[in-house]
Symmetry: C2
Subunit: 244 residues, 2 copies
Amino acid sequence: MKILLELAYCGSAYHGWQVQGDALTVQKILQDACEQLFGYRPPVTGCSRTDSGVHAKQFFCTAEGVFSVPVDRIPAALNTLLPEDVSVLDAREVSLDFHARYSCTGKEYFYDICISRYRDPLTVGRAWQYCRPLDVKRMNQAAQYLCGKHDFASFCAAGSSVIDTVRTVSALTAEQAGDHILVRISADGFLYNMVRIIVGTLVEVGRGAMPPEQAERILYAADRSKAGPTAPACGLYLNRVFYS
Amino acid sequence: MKILLELAYCGSAYHGWQVQGDALTVQKILQDACEQLFGYRPPVTGCSRTDSGVHAKQFFCTAEGVFSVPVDRIPAALNTLLPEDVSVLDAREVSLDFHARYSCTGKEYFYDICISRYRDPLTVGRAWQYCRPLDVKRMNQAAQYLCGKHDFASFCAAGSSVIDTVRTVSALTAEQAGDHILVRISADGFLYNMVRIIVGTLVEVGRGAMPPEQAERILYAADRSKAGPTAPACGLYLNRVFYS
C-alpha cells in the first residue's frame, strides 16, 4: 500500500529534504524512523526538494510498503522516534498512482524578513535578519509585475537543468506585522531558488536600489544576472501544498 | 558612569540570567563581550533572574564603569561580540542611583502554549508542546480570580526565601490564535516561578481537571501544594519591563 504522510520541520539542522550521500537530511531522518518502526526502509518520495536550512509548516511525502501499524497510529508512533525538529502531522492511505510531487497542483511559501535595527535572537535561523527598513508599498508594486503566467528564467538559479521555465504565480504579497515583513507567494510550481530570488529582488526594490517597474524588465530579460540576490534560506517556509 | 542596556535573548542554551559558578548564563556571556570590548569586566546588574530556558523579548541590565565607546555605538559593538541568541537593542546613560531591579515598577510576561495534536517542530523549545485542546474561556474565568492585589504564596515555588508574598496582578488573560494559546500577565512584581505555576494551574482548569472557581480557593489556601504544576520554562517570555 501507499501512504501519504504530512510533515512539518525546522530545517536549520538539515541539508534539505532529499537524501544526498551521508548528509543529514529530513528524508534520511524519516527513513531511519520508518526502519525502526517497520523493520525495513520503505521508499519515500517527497513533494519538493527543499534546500538546506529551509523550513516546512506543511510537507507531504509518500511511503510504499506493508505497514505493521494501523495508518491512523503511524504519526504518533513515528513522532516518538523522530527528533524534536521533525513531526508527522497526519497519515492516510492513497491510491498507488498518487505521486507526492507530480500530483501536486500548487504550493504556497512564505518568507520572513526581520527588519528590527538589531538581530532578533528569537528569530535567528527562522527569519532573514535584514536589520534595515524596507518600503513594503514598493515591494508590493514590484510584486504585481510577477503575478500571472510568465517565463521566470530570470528567477531560476543558474545551472538548473529545467527546460520549461514558465510558471503561474497566483498570489505574491508583502505584509508588515511589527518588525517583520512576510512575503507570501503561491504558484502552480516553482523553479530552483525561485522564491529566494524573488524575495531578494523585492528587497532591492524595498530598500530603494531598484524601481518597482524593474521587476517587469527583469522578467522579460530571462537572465538570472538581472534579478536581485538570492535571499538566505533561513527565512523560507513551505507553508501549504495543494493536491486536487 | 552607569549605562542601561536593553537586551533580548533566546534562553534555550542558557542557565538563566544570573552568573552561577561555571554555568553558561546570559550575564556571563554579556560580561565576556564587555571584557572584549572595554578591556575589563564591568559589574552588571539585571532587572530579574530569569530561569534556565526562559526567553526575554525585553530585559534590562545596568553596567557601571568607564566606557571607551560612545554610548549610542555600544549596542552594535557588543552585538558583533555576542552569540546570535543574545542581542543588545539599546544603551543609554542613567543616573548612578538607578537600579535595574529595584527601580522597576512592573513587568509583563507572556507564556506560549502549543495545542496542536502533535508537537510543532518550529516552536519546540519556544512553546509548551501541550498537544491537547484547552478551554480558553474557562482559563480566563479562573484568571479573573487572580487579578488584583493578593497573597500569591500558593503560586510561589517551595523553598523561596521571600517573606512578603503579596503582589498586584494588573492583567491576566489567555487568548487563542490558531494552534497557540498565549497567556499574558502583568504585575508589580513576581514571586519565584509565579508565572509558571499560574500557567500550570490555568491549564488544569482549561483541560477540565479543576473548576475555574478553584483558583480563588488556591489563593486563600496560601499553600503551594494546592496549585497546579509548574509549566515548563521553554514557553515563558519576559516581554516588557516598566520603569517610572
